[in-house]
């Protein structure tokens, strides 16, 4: 094909950035949970789906209220965080210290259960949420148009990353989380309430997944099966960035977003194979990912 003009490349880059920010929201929580709890949460995609369904439910509930979308996003993400907290406190914690495969399969059991519960509550139809009016249209950028909502997402992603940078690096809680990711045994010795920490981290991870799910509703269809679609991509992101690394999730998401965006220009029909090859290559060359650290304990 002809060499594309610059404005097109910019738009394509911004498209990739939008993709990346949605990936980041789900992958960062997945990575955070793995970093501290050492649990690879297969149900993270299900939490994301729950966020989407809850957001839909809330938008429908507040049918005419102004700002209903934002209330729904907030409510849905908090709802998912609470659900995550309950699951962690009542069930997941009993499996710490057991073989990794038990934890893996427990989160897979959650995938199965949540998918059917969502079906019981919301049915199997295609559900859709409109963009909030304020972010409805698009703006002109370099002779091209770009959707307002996507700009909002591109701004929101780094804002959340910044918030987490602050929490992780400037607060006591954040230091504990980072310490936990490095060496879990030390924490108990230092008198940290490890179980509360685990619940909190799981809830934060779930909140991020719920937030991602709620925010994605204006640009996708909410259908059964969206949980499975998203979890594999999230895995790829955290593997590339480094399991357990919050910043790795950001970098991985940015990388995968651009690979998807520009990959289709170079190899239009091989994205399906390519992302898994990318994942395998990273694992072979540098199993702990671009920004992760080799696991201890």
């Amino acid at each position: 094909m002809l060499l594309p003009d610059l404005s097109f490349l910019v738009i394509q880059f911004l498209s990739g950035l939008t993709t990346a920010m949605f990936l980041f929201l789900i992958a960062s929580g997945l990575s955070l949970i793995f970093g501290v709890l050492r649990v690879l949460n297969f149900a993270h995609g299900s939490l994301y789906m729950l966020g989407a369904y809850l957001a839909y439910g809330l938008v429908a509930w507040f049918a005419t209220a102004p700002g209903k979308f934002w209330v729904a996003v907030l409510g849905a993400s908090i709802g998912v965080a609470l659900i995550g907290g309950i699951v962690e406190r009542t069930l997941l914690r009993r499996l710490y210290g057991r073989e990794a495969v038990y934890q893996l399969l427990f989160t897979y059991a959650l995938v199965l259960i949540i998918s059917d519960v969502a079906k019981l509550l919301w049915g199997t139809g295609q559900l859709s949420v409109s963009r909030p009016p304020i972010l409805g249209g698009s703006v002109s950028l370099f002779d091209q148009v770009f959707p307002r909502y996507n700009i909002f997402v591109i701004i929101l992603g780094p804002a959340i990353a910044l918030l987490f940078w602050f929490v992780l690096h400037r607060t006591r809680a954040g230091r504990i989380i980072r310490a936990a990711a490095l060496d879990r045994e030390m924490l108990g010795v230092l008198g940290v309430h490890v179980d509360r920490l685990y619940t909190a981290v799981f809830m934060i991870g779930a909140w991020l997944a719920g937030l991602g799910g709620a925010l994605v509703t204006p640009v996708v269809t909410i259908v059964p099966g969206m949980d499975v679609e998203v979890i594999v991509n999230a895995f790829i992101v955290v593997v590339i960035g480094g399991l357990g690394s919050f910043w790795g999730a950001l970098l991985g998401a940015l990388a995968l977003g651009q690979v998807m965006s520009f990959g289709i220009l170079i190899l239009p029909r091989f994205s399906l194979v390519f992302v898994y090859v990318l994942m395998a290559v990273v694992l072979v060359m540098r199993p702990w990912g671009l920004l992760g650290k080799p696991l201890r304990g």
């Binding site: 069930l91 495969v101 399969l105 091989f270 399906l272």
Partner: protein, 314 residues
């Protein structure tokens, strides 16, 4: 109790299975064939999971490769069935050698993720490579070989192949090689310390598991008259993991029992409700909390009071 311990359970089960065609229902023949194939798949996975302590989350890769290779050789190169089946296993084993070489250098969750990535590559290749694999609509019209062209014959043949494979695997895990795998599971550092080439053992186990998964896949393709990319999808890998845990990963026959229970339950539950995922999820969760040793593990520990569970913590 002592009698119960000494009974050759494997042979008894095989003999009982041999009587199935006399029950008279063709449906149960198909179910039996299905269970036997999945049993082989699950036991082969357990060589990694239960015996070597390696969580393979991509065993469906070798199942799929075996299925495609066997079916393609029969359909396109007119290779006799038995040879195709063997070749399917060998090709799956070869793929396991290649992928395993990279996988065994990783530990724990990284190992699981890399096996998953490789399996997804196999799935994506099968999905995309239309000219060879038929893409998402798969290979169709794979025939039962002429000499097995009745459900009962195919059932007996499957039983034979699975029986021989399980007997072989049983010998493997009972051999010094198998003992060494368990030592590696319990304490890889110590194994390394006493001069064992841990990776070499792990790779050998990976290839063996790949070979038998491939044989199971080959059988499954013929049994279904078709091969689809789904055979290698990650949900298939999860399914066989569930079978293994359900039956008990620290017993040799546990995974086979798990395969039987899961397929039978699936048949039973889906005839009443479409909420099978919910039922399976609840069963799985309950199992993990209440019977972590799996059904056979529980039976062995509580009924047979055998209590030896393939040695742990040696």
């Amino acid at each position: 109790m002592a009698v119960m311990q000494r009974l050759p359970w494997g042979l008894l089960a095989l003999a009982a299975a041999g009587l199935l065609p006399f029950v008279g229902s063709r449906f149960y023949l198909y179910l039996g064939t299905d269970i036997a194939i999945m049993a082989l798949f699950a036991v082969s996975l357990n060589l990694l999971l239960g015996y070597t302590g390696l969580v393979s989350f991509g065993q469906a890769a070798y199942f799929g490769i075996g299925a495609y290779a066997c079916a393609l050789l029969m359909m396109q190169a007119s290779v006799p069935f038995i040879l195709s089946l063997l070749a399917g296993g060998l090709l799956a084993g070869a793929a396991a050698l290649l992928f395993g070489y990279f996988c065994i250098r990783l530990t724990q969750i990284y190992f699981a993720m890399l096996t998953l990535a490789f399996a997804q590559i196999v799935w994506a290749a099968a999905f995309k490579w239309n000219s060879l694999t038929g893409g998402d609509t798969g290979l169709t019209g794979v025939p039962f070989p002429a000499f097995l062209d009745s459900p009962a014959r195919f059932y007996y043949f499957t039983l034979g192949v699975v029986g021989i494979s399980l007997a072989f695997l049983r010998r493997v895990v009972g051999s010094p090689f198998g003992r060494m795998l368990m030592t590696i599971r319990e304490n890889p550092e110590r194994a390394e310390f006493i001069g064992v080439h841990v990776r070499w053992y792990e790779l050998a186990a990976f290839v063996l598991a790949g070979f038998f998964s491939g044989v199971a896949g080959g059988l499954f393709g013929i049994f279904n008259h078709s091969v689809f990319p789904d055979f290698s999808y990650w949900t298939k890998s999860a399914e066989v993991l569930i079978m293994t845990i359900l039956g008990g990963m620290y017993t040799f026959f546990g995974p086979a029992v798990g395969a039987g229970i899961l397929l039978f339950l699936n048949m039973l539950v889906t005839s009443y409700t479409e909420y099978w995922p919910l039922v399976l999820g609840v069963i799985l969760a309950a199992l993990l909390f209440l019977f972590p040793g799996g059904v056979l593990g529980f039976l062995e520990a509580h009924l047979l009071r055998r209590g030896h569970r393939e040695p742990r913590g040696t």
